[in-house]
């Protein structure tokens, strides 16, 4: 199913790639939670086509690299600055001599956003059942209890192209009944704002450290799509601050999130030789 690029190991064969799990003669290591999260992020980009894949956070950054190298080879990836990289670089510094395939300064990113040829994974501070997302402030906007980073590109992203979310700590402070400031637009708000807002609106999936959620619940509400290995449905429901829709068939019908294959684990190790993903998701 997974078509590994034959040059994969060689292309990222920097110092960090040596000694990785799955090297000849060693038993493949078991996938950890962070690996499952990275693959679940990668899956958000299946069949995405020739678009810009943007990612905030470690698991999404690994996910877009994994997707690009395996089942979504047409994706475009940036170096986090202004370059499009011909081959996905490891996390951290881009290796010397890495091939640049394009120039994408911030203003060009805005053009891509408006064109719709992009799928971004953002990290919400608050997210509600409709997919409204807040990274602006907690409390009243005029005098917030907690000032956050600011709305960034979330309003434009969500009404122009596919947007998914990554939640490194699934809990009721993130999954709230009502977000304090709507930065990323949810299904209910997009519909209420009219055709221009909903025309290109479409949220992808929500990957957390416990589960994968989608917007296939009643009225595009968040629904539990799968739980990660070792996590129960009850845990996820309890960690969500609103009633979480379940698949037809109830709690027993919730599948388990797939774990990466040994080959995919090798790629994750090569992309993340320092194991940054295990700091983001220690489980």
């Amino acid at each position: 199913m997974t078509q590994l690029d034959a040059t994969a190991a060689g292309a990222t064969g920097t110092a960090g790639a040596t000694g990785m799990a799955g090297a000849p003669g060693t038993a493949p290591r078991a996938a950890r939670r962070a690996d499952v999260c990275a693959l679940a992020c990668a899956e958000a980009f299946r069949d995405a086509g020739e678009i810009l894949a943007s990612a905030f956070g470690t698991a999404p950054a690994l996910g877009v690299r994994l997707a690009r190298r395996t089942f979504a080879p047409d994706l475009l990836l940036s170096d986090g600055e202004a370059m499009l990289m011909a081959d996905p670089p490891p996390l951290g510094a881009v290796p010397a001599g890495a091939v640049v395939e394009g120039w994408l300064p911030f203003r060009s990113v805005f053009d891509v956003v408006a064109s719709g040829r992009r799928h971004v994974v953002m990290i919400p501070s608050q997210l509600d059942a409709h997919g409204n997302m807040n990274i602006s402030a907690v409390g009243p906007h005029g005098h917030p209890r907690a000032q956050l980073i600011g709305t960034r590109g979330a309003p434009g992203n969500t009404v122009n192209h596919r947007t998914s979310y990554w939640v490194p700590r699934h809990g009721p402070r993130v999954f709230v009944e009502r977000v304090d400031v709507v930065c990323g637009v949810g299904y209910d708000r997009a519909a209420a704002a009219g055709p221009a807002a909903s025309r290109f609106h479409g949220l992808g999936r929500v990957v957390t450290d416990l589960a994968v959620l989608d917007f296939a619940g009643p009225g595009h509400r968040l629904r539990l799509a799968s739980v990660h290995p070792g996590v129960t449905v009850d845990e996820v429901v309890a960690a969500t601050g609103f009633p979480l829709a379940l698949p037809d068939g109830g709690p027993g019908a919730v599948p388990t999130t797939p774990a990466p294959t040994p080959a995919e684990l090798d790629l994750l190790d090569a992309f993340d030789p320092k194991g940054l993903r295990f700091r983001e998701v220690p489980a």
């Binding site: 600055e81 202004a82 370059m83 120039w103 300064p105 911030f106 203003r107 805005f110 956003v113 408006a114 602006s136 402030a137 906007h141 005029g142 005098h143 917030p144 209890r145 907690a146 000032q147 956050l148 980073i149 600011g150 709305t151 960034r152 590109g153 979330a154 309003p155 434009g156 969500t158 009404v159 122009n160 400031v181 709507v182 930065c183 990323g184 637009v185 708000r189 997009a190 209420a192 704002a193 009219g194 055709p195 221009a196 807002a197 909903s198 025309r199 290109f200 609106h201």
Partner: protein, 343 residues
Amino acid sequence: MFRGTRPRPTRPLGAGPSRPQADTGPRAAAETTAAQTTQGRLMGAKLLTISDAVAVVENGMTIGIGGWGSRRKPMALVRALARGPATDLTVVTYGGPDVGLLAAAGKIRKLVSGFVSLDSVPLEPHFRAARQRGEIEFAELDEGMLQWGLLAAAHRLPFLPIRAGLGSDVPATFPGLRTVTSPYDDGEELLAMPALPLDVAFVHANRADAAGNAAFLGPDPYFDDLFCLAARHRVLSCERVVETAELTKEAPVQALRINRMMVDAVVGTPNGAHFTSCVPDYDRDEAFQRVYVTAAGGDGSGWAAFHDRYLAGDEAAYQAAVRADGGSAGRAGDRAREKEGAR
């Protein structure tokens, strides 16, 4: 807000003790003659000191600041603004420590931005604290809306239509934002992003000549040219003031994003983006940024000490204090000086 003529510095331009940190030797004098003949204007007339360049800012003005987050910010100009008298400012920026320093100095009445971040440190401590004290009005925009507002101002249009912001709380937090209905058959109702005209723009380039032709040498021009086009008075600081012919020797012509009709004042400020990045001249001074963040937290005593050490004096004193630190903070200054010396 100034009305009518463009604001003018109070001291004679490029004269006497105001002479800036740029080539002033015999070679520069010889160049002046050529510049006069080719450009019909005294080359160097725009060269100002930091304090003269910043003196155009008056209470209540709208100031645009180039760069992005903690990247290529005109920090020498920002530091001068923070220690100067002008206050009650509206600041338009892709925000980083420029917002933090001005907020810490109590200069900002209103911020127009999509975010404030130090990039490697996601949240700006002074901005956070000021907002949580209820001190700063935040007209919060999607990043693309901010670009659109600058472009509308640059094009002398009242607004530009944009999809970004529809359905979000941007219309609730940006006062007076309205929609516009397409006059064509589609009839789409879009947001009408109003022009964001600036009284003064501050931007920082890697290289510039004395007339204000400027090159960025890093990978991203950010929106510095738009800030200049949207402003009535444009102040450009740079790592090094060079002869015009040098500009295209060091960079492809496409890097000359800013030309002299977009600039009113040029200031040579070596290491002037510190502690933000100014690649390829220097990277962000992460060690210094951490010191800044740590100092900004706590009970205020840390910030008082930071202020005394780095911000109480002028830019030369700041740079001297950074060099005296040694470590990575000092090395950044060393790199800048070595490049100066290599010329």
